[in-house]
């Protein structure tokens, strides 16, 4: 059974206007997203800024209200947003935030930051709590005397690991990682990515990995979904997306990845030119008159792309 299943998720934000501040329009941040994540896998959500990938992640964990659609966790409706209803899955889904500088409260000690989820869900004596926090910090490679320090005393990579310690404190099943390394240096980034893979094996975690960096997505993920303006344009396994992209938008995105071989520069520039020309020429075939993607059509068991049917384009 899939760990997480999202069915036709829509998140619309109201736009207020006019003299009575009435709702005059709605912004369709997420417009009909379907995705399934198997336990122990890493699912990558890719897209440019404004494509709705972060909103999708936040809707799954209940930080954004859902306009319509269903989120099933282990086959059961997750039930965020029901009034007075604290979902029993709250413990099982955690989040790692993008910016390690703003996601830790600067006025709290590391002990208080990491133990906050424990205090909400488990009744521990102060001594037990301290021991648990030290264990968690040891798991993320920080020494146990750091518990009385404040966030400003740590580097970016260390802070991100504190964020991870907080996320794994309640032994969650699903972690939503929203650009977890995009504000870190390359070598620190490598450290955090390695570490995320290690604890995934150790704790049998499932990741929803949100990023705009395709190199990292390729390294981390088993399945990939590509979003454009709130809709999916293509989804499939990492291999299918990188080796056999079907949608023109995916092709364009892949072509933009910088290449590490400088001797191929001229050749790559010509390839990009071709893909860009193709993109401009065939845009109207791949997107409807509002510039939105069509519904996904299955190409294989795992691979589907928003390609219009024949005669329709």
């Amino acid at each position: 059974m899939a760990l997480l299943e999202v069915r036709d998720l829509k998140v619309y934000f109201p736009v207020y206007g006019g003299i009575f501040r009435r709702i005059v329009d709605r912004i369709k941040a997420v417009d009909g997203v379907n995705l399934t994540i198997e336990p122990g896998h890493t699912y990558g959500l890719v897209g440019e800024s404004g494509s709705g990938k972060t909103t999708t992640g936040r809707a799954i964990i209940g930080l954004n209200p859902i306009t319509s659609g269903q989120i099933l966790f282990q086959g059961e409706d997750i039930g965020w947003g029901m009034r007075g209803h604290q979902s029993r899955f709250r413990k099982d889904i955690q989040m790692i935030f993008q910016d390690p500088y703003s996601s830790l409260n600067p006025k709290k000690r590391i002990l208080d930051i990491v133990s906050e989820p424990l205090r909400n869900f488990e009744k521990l004596t102060p001594a037990e709590e301290k021991r648990r926090v030290q264990e968690l910090l040891a798991q993320v490679g920080l020494s146990s005397e750091t518990i009385y320090k404040y966030p400003h005393e740590f580097s970016g990579g260390q802070r991100q690991r504190i964020g991870i310690a907080r996320a794994i404190a309640l032994k969650p099943k699903l972690i939503i990682a929203d650009e977890p390394v995009s504000s870190l240096d390359v070598s620190v980034q490598a450290q955090v990515l390695n570490f995320m893979q290690d604890i995934q094996k150790e704790l049998h975690l499932t990741y929803l990995f949100i990023s705009h960096d395709l190199g990292i997505i390729r390294h981390m993920c088993d399945h990939i979904g590509i979003m454009y303006r709130g809709r999916y344009v293509e989804q499939g396994t990492t291999r299918e997306i990188f080796e056999n992209p079907q949608h023109i938008y995916t092709k364009r995105l892949l072509a933009a990845i910088p290449d590490l071989d400088p001797s191929q520069r001229g050749k790559r520039q010509r390839q990009r030119q071709l893909i860009y020309q193709e993109y401009d020429k065939e845009f109207s075939q791949y997107f409807d008159h509002d510039g939105l993607a069509y519904a996904l059509r299955p190409l294989s068991d795992t691979h589907s792309a928003a390609i219009p049917g024949r005669g329709q384009g």
Binding site: S187, L214, P258, D259
Partner: protein, 342 residues
Amino acid sequence: MNEELLTIENLSTSFPIAGQLYAAVDDVNLTVKKNEILAIVGESGSGKSALAFSIMGLHTRAQIQGHIYYKGQNLATMSPAELNRLRGNEVSMIFQDPLSALNPLMMIGEQIEEVLLLHESKSKTARSSKGSGQTRHSKKFRKEQTLDLLSQVGIPRPEYTYGQYPHELSGGMRQRVVIAMAIANQPHLLIADEPTTALDVTIQLQILELIRRLKEQMEAGIILITHDLGVVAEMADRVAVMYAGQIVEISSIHSLMSNAKHPYTRSLMSSIPTGNEKKTKLHVIQGVVPSLQHLPRQGCRFRSRIPWIEEAAHEADPQMHEVEPGHYVRCTCYKHFHFLDE
């Protein structure tokens, strides 16, 4: 063609911390030629931005030693008034964070016009052919120039953007405006400090292509500061790798990418996910970049990050060694370096 535009000799930039001076840029030597992109690579804290700010004379508290020759004039000893005549004219800079580099209370068009207005003396000569009979001081002329610049950097509706404020634009658009301001007076030397960090890949590519066109059309010398080796491989003609305030390796891009020598360069390269789907471990450099105060000033600065290499491999006073024509490496430890799992 290979005219040297900028020559930096023994440049050190020191900052006072608790009454003592600490060098963030330590004895840097480099040159930038016309029609060349020199990339400076390094992690945060390696001193690459401090170096750029030293060239532009933007440090207020730092003590700068050494020489920065731009077309034979020493920028390090220039008065602020003399510097102001160069900056924004012949030498200009693209800043990392486009939102803080723009004035939130001024329309985009006004901000670009301001650059043209303040440096009119030069735009007069550079653009006299396009004047079409108007005085260069006229507002109409400047507006035309501004719209021209906006469309040059690929802004789709220049007239509309002219009247917008920075907060109304997306990150990529803002960065283009900053670039438009930097190239307004057709600089001969352009310093781009992380111009594409925090931008999407497709927009990053457009910005990089814009910078490359600038080099080709104006034959400008460009210093591209970045931590992204992918960007370096796409753009640079030559690369300088900085670690803890020093240049540890400098070479042509081809020689560096195929034959990197210094342990730091090699470690950096193996820590990028390269796209093989086998979930191999990425390389992690042991330890952390030392802070300015705790920097080992003696011996090889990278020594503490590669403790498995014996002490004797390092030089007591690491010098640059030429390994290939034009390819220099600091310290002798590269000869003995191997990764821990090799």
